[in-house]
Amino acid sequence: MSDVVREAAPELLRVRQLRKSYRSGDALLEVLRGVDFDLAAGEFVSVVGQSGSGKSTLLHLMGLLDAADSGEVVLEGQRIDGLSAARRDRLRNTCIGMVFQSYHLLPELDALENVLAPLMVRHGVFEWLRVRAAARAKACDLLERFGLGDRLRHKPRQLSGGEMQRVAIARALVTQPRVLLADEPTGNLDEATGAGILEMLCELNREDGLSIVLVTHDSAVARRADRIVRLAAGRVDDACPAAARMAG
């Protein structure tokens, strides 16, 4: 992808003056103090920062898992913060895919069922019976593409860390989301496996034009992205905005 294409790419996600604080006892902990963040369609952005810099919180706010104190989150030109709970659930299910550090697979379900879970959430029982075949085909395709074709019926505890994370990514992508939000996806994995996962994400970004926001504290991981956004003390640190672009 050339720079020209990227300049022309429409804006996908825009975050403006996002503030979030937590109350712990009497102390008010300000995690985000007015963050601005943009993501273009097809862009792969890393968010880096030290522990407690608010990068995970930013991801949760963009993923609508939490509500900000003030500021706005705009997805494809539409404000998505402050929506009703039901509409946020719907958006989370259809437009956003999330991957977590500790995989967060459902232990009672096998790999295939875990991948199908968001589609099952989307459809009611009778609807599901109608779409099941298509959904299964899609999930199997994804798992096979990620090299898990022979692991469909394995429970998470029977899978290795890398396999679990690949299942988790497949689960995030089966809904064909607008954006993939990944929270330290390589954090629990050894270097080689982590590199494999990262390679997979890059490939998805390159070949499928998947927009990715990757949160990590590992600058080596972050450098694989098109652009790096550095968070420090609840704000975007503009000291080295272009560093990543050059690395990418």
């Binding site: 898992l65 709970a85 989370r92 299910n93 967060h104 069922e113 968001p118 099952m120 009611g124």
Partner: protein
């Protein structure tokens, strides 16, 4: 869809939750068994009461009764025509029964009921409760030549529990009379020899090698003399008995070995008791004579007594009736009480027992009759009215038991509540995951409600199976327990049922199942709410 799948998976992987519904299972099973047995008892009791009482009882308030039952029956038929299947007049008075046991006179308070032997069996199950097969076919107040049941015809027992009835009837009567005569004869002979009296009869009586014929002749000769005799007819009341075997003409002596007094059928509880081995012991047998003292119809009533011959026993298995009722031919009782008007020959009766056709509305017919007959002279009541307090007591017992047992299931509900809370805590992260996948609060709550419903269904289903299998095989189980422990679990001598009755009412069972499942769902509401309200981020961070 995910809700169903997860419910199903949780059900298969969380055995601890299944443990929590064991109490639901036990509660449901207990309720089904208790309700079935209680319903069985209640049904048995009702059929027995109903069998004794006929559908409707039309009675006068006074002991003297009302005149001309025939006219009344026609009026009743006119009032409630189509619904009447049968009617019979009866006379019932309180009385005293006296009989001799080992030389002691025993007195029992009884209800002395005159019945029409031709029609009484049409209005109630009276006939079914008699001990002689012939009498069950068609009641006769004549003493039978043996053949009484030694095995309770209403019990399915195979071992005779009433060996004493073996020789009852005429053989017993002849044997008793003979023994009494022989004894009396011996006394007479002894007296004569000591007083140097020298009659030919006394000489032969003294000989130990007499033939049977000689004995009988001697006995006849002996009774010809005035001597105290237990079998002697009471003088006075009544001379023209319509019954063939009844009292001979006044002034002539009857032969107790071949003749009987007016027959009566006492309740079996008046004349017998059950010993510890389950054998019925009889104080009086068919063929024995007893005395009954009862009031006459005049005002004020006078007590009169007469001698009667027991010809059968009545056993309804309701001890209240079996130890209270004594049946006698209505015509004899009317005559002895002076209920027949001398000039016209029209008799009075106390009450008319009415049986309605199948499916007739008892209360409607009762109200119809109440409109026709003035309430200050006649009382019309259904058998339910008559036994209202007893039936109400049984109903009340059942409701109290049901409340108590339902509390057991409610306790199980709290167990489910506690275990569900634990499962919600354990599954906090999964709940966070589902929320991150877009599951709504209602969906998450639905998982746990559905889980509660599943558990309730499984628990209640298992309880249903267990309860039904116990209820249907309760007597086999009882036998097994008795065999194992050597103790008698169900003592038929107390209950008078030979087996534990059990009726499974589908409506009650449905109600129990719905209640149990409802409790399981209700107790999963709080955990489900908690799960639904979990904050996704905090849930995801939960370790």
């Amino acid at each position: 869809m995910y809700k169903l799948l997860l419910c199903w998976r949780y059900l298969r992987t969380r055995w601890i939750a299944l443990a929590s519904i064991v109490s639901v299972t036990l509660g449901v099973a207990t309720m089904i068994v208790v309700n079935s047995v209680m319903a069985g008892f209640s049904h048995e009791m009702q059929t027995r009461i109903h069998g004794i009482l006929s559908d409707l009882v039309f009675e006068s308030h006074s002991l003297s009764g009302f005149q001309d039952p025939q006219w009344h029956m026609e009026e009743i038929r006119r009032a409630a025509g189509d619904d009447i299947a049968g009617m019979t007049p009866t006379v019932a008075v309180p009385a005293m029964l006296n009989f001799q046991v080992r030389g002691q006179w025993v007195t029992r308070q009884i209800m002395f009921i005159g019945i029409d032997e031709a029609t009484h069996a049409q209005v109630s199950d009276f006939g079914r409760y008699l001990q002689h097969p012939g009498n069950r076919q068609q009641l006769s107040f004549g003493l039978r030549e043996g053949g009484y049941d030694t095995i309770d015809s209403q019990a399915k027992a195979t071992v005779p529990t009433r060996p004493a009835l073996e020789g009852a009837g005429w053989p017993h009567r002849r044997m008793r009379v003979e023994r009494e005569r022989a004894w009396r004869e011996k006394l007479e002979a002894d007296r004569r020899t000591t007083t140097a009296g020298d009659s030919p009869a006394a000489v032969t009586a003294g000989s130990p090698t007499r033939s049977v014929d000689q004995q009988v002749e001697a006995v006849l000769a002996a009774t010809a003399e005035p001597s105290p005799s237990a079998a002697e007819p009471a003088p006075g009341s009544g001379s023209a008995d319509p019954f063939r075997q009844a009292r001979p003409e006044a002034g002539t002596r009857m032969d107790p070995a071949t003749e009987q007094f007016t027959g009566i059928v006492p309740g079996i509880g008046l004349a017998s008791f059950r010993d510890t081995a389950g054998i019925d012991r009889f104080l009086v047998l068919p063929g024995d004579d007893v005395k009954v003292t009862f009031p006459t119809a005049g005002t004020p009533p006078k007590a009169v007594s007469d001698t009667f011959t027991v010809v059968d026993f009545y056993e309804s298995k309701m001890s209240e009736y079996d130890s209270n009722f004594v049946f006698v031919p209505i015509a004899a009782l009317q005559r002895m009480r002076g209920m027949i008007e001398p000039q016209t020959g029209i008799a009075s009766v106390n009450s008319i027992q009415i049986r309605l056709r199948e499916g007739a509305d008892l209360d409607r017919v009762r109200d119809k009759l109440r409109r026709v007959f003035p309430a200050d002279m006649y009382a019309v009541a259904t058998w339910r009215d008559k036994q209202g307090p007893l039936l109400a007591a049984v109903d009340m017992e059942m409701s109290v038991l049901n409340i108590l047992l339902f509390l057991i299931i409610a306790v199980a509900g709290f167990g489910i509540l506690a275990i569900f809370f634990m499962i919600v805590v354990e599954k906090t992260r999964d709940i966070g995951i589902l929320k991150s996948l877009g599951a709504g609060a209602s969906g998450i709550g639905g998982i746990f409600l559905g889980y509660g419903l599943f558990l309730g269904l499984v628990g209640a289903g298992a309880g249903l199976a267990l309860g039904l299998s116990i209820a249907w095989n309760i007597n086999a189980i009882r036998a097994g327990v008795e065999w194992l422990t050597g103790e008698q679990v169900f003592d038929p001598s107390i209950y008078y049922f030979h087996r534990i009755p059990s009726i499974v009412d589908p409506f009650t069972v449905t109600w129990i199942i719905v209640g149990a499942v409802g409790i399981a769902v209700a107790s999963s509401v709080l955990p489900a709410l908690r799960a639904a309200r979990l904050h996704p981020v905090e849930a995801l961070r939960h370790e």
